[in-house]
Symmetry: C2
């Protein structure tokens, strides 16, 4: 992987709240950025001094205990949406991911000493399909249960919270939950996913009726294997059907 040198907009960063569904939990991918990375984005000696200063004044930044959102400053020649994708790719190797802008956070004091606004995106990925090679930009990258976040820098907790609210809203109107699941999944997995995102129990029989009546699921005629109980049928989500239904006006309310 090559690290590009950009002219960046120092007052604007792009950050990604990357959601994944692991072990029946909704998790978020956080990292600890490599301080040397920041220097690569800043050209002058004066700026390097400022960075040093910031790291000294905010011990959290250099600490192994504090985590942040994956993101960097926006280069002047990059489209905003495109660059969010880019960030995911260069930091995690992930491609073709569902990405959606959440909002821009711009309180003056959200980052000490500097004025930095951040445009936040959330991403939905299925961790099974990606191995996260540690990018040279990161000291560490790790999944955290949304219910049990580590100590985080700046306003990251608020950002994750707002992103979760947005995800909750959207997952009820668009079938985006599928991005978090493997290509073939059981109805129980799907239900658990919704239960975790919406943070409430759903009735199994009603859930199954509803989801099957939508016609979005394709029966793969396969079953789980090697489970110590009745094997569940595996279903797939059919994008073509979804697109067809969308034209007719889809009601996906769970």
């Amino acid at each position: 992987m090559k690290i590009l040198k950009f002219v960046i907009l120092k007052s604007l960063s792009v950050d990604c709240v990357i959601f994944g569904f692991n072990n029946n939990k909704l998790e978020v991918l956080l990292w600890q950025a490599e301080p040397e990375l920041l220097k690569k984005f800043l050209a002058t000696k004066e700026e390097h001094e400022q960075i040093k200063d910031i790291f000294e004044k905010n011990p959290a930044l250099g600490s192994d205990n504090f985590w942040g959102l994956i993101g960097t400053h926006l280069p002047t020649e990059e489209d905003l949406d495109g660059y969010a994708k880019n960030i995911l790719q260069t930091t995690t190797g992930i491609n073709n991911v569902y990405l959606k802008q959440v909002q821009t956070f711009g309180a003056t004091k959200r980052v000490p000493h500097f004025r930095v606004l951040t445009v936040v995106y959330y991403a939905l990925i299925n961790p099974d399909y990606h191995d996260f090679k540690l990018s040279p930009l990161a000291k560490a990258v790790k999944w955290f249960d949304i219910e049990n976040l580590p100590e985080v820098i700046f306003d990251v907790k608020e950002i994750i919270q707002k992103s979760l609210v947005k995800l909750r809203e959207e997952v009820q109107y668009y079938p985006i939950g599928f991005h978090l699941l493997p290509d073939k999944f059981t109805l129980t997995q799907l239900q658990t996913l919704y239960e975790v995102i919406l943070d409430k129990k759903l009735d199994t029989r009603n859930f199954r009726k509803k989801i099957q009546n939508m016609g979005l699921l394709v029966d793969t005629n396969e079953k789980q294997t090697n489970v110590a109980h009745r094997a569940a049928k595996l279903y797939a989500f059919d994008v073509n059907i979804y697109n067809k239904l969308k034209e007719e006006g889809l009601n996906f309310r769970i």
Copy 2:
């Protein structure tokens, strides 16, 4: 009104899509900015030259036929949300307005020659309650029917469109439509408002049943006067009731 001199973030502007409900139409308030204003935001002679250049290369900007969103560049010492309010106040004199962030537009080429991202907010106001004194920042300010927009600069049409979609979504889940109406209004006015925003006819009897069952309306015991037909009852929207209902989980789906 005083014009403040700020240190601004040149790559980031804040723009407002101001919606109003006039003559049974959904309208949007646009302006023609005063080019001299831009200079006040830029300190160096070089920057003034750039502005001149931009106006020369984009005749639309100086033209009386092209309109833009009300907004300016973000000063470094201003909170994003607070500054959006500020813009409304300094350009239109309006205070205490419903404001909501839509999204940030950041295609590299959205403004020619310069990289400018814009954080867009929509505002809902009732034009009856405000007179728009022409701000010194503007050559002209005018309402336009959303169905019949004038020629606009840059990506303003797309921005208005996206804001309208957002308004449409939110108006169905939160009773924000009331911000567009006078304090006392008839059910027909309310229904027309929803019909215009959602761009579809609603059944009068069903609409009335639904809206009245929500318990958000207060009967003012007043009626229209001087109308050449049966006078309609006037209702008001009670914020206290709304807040109480919200805690219990309000379903406002129209």
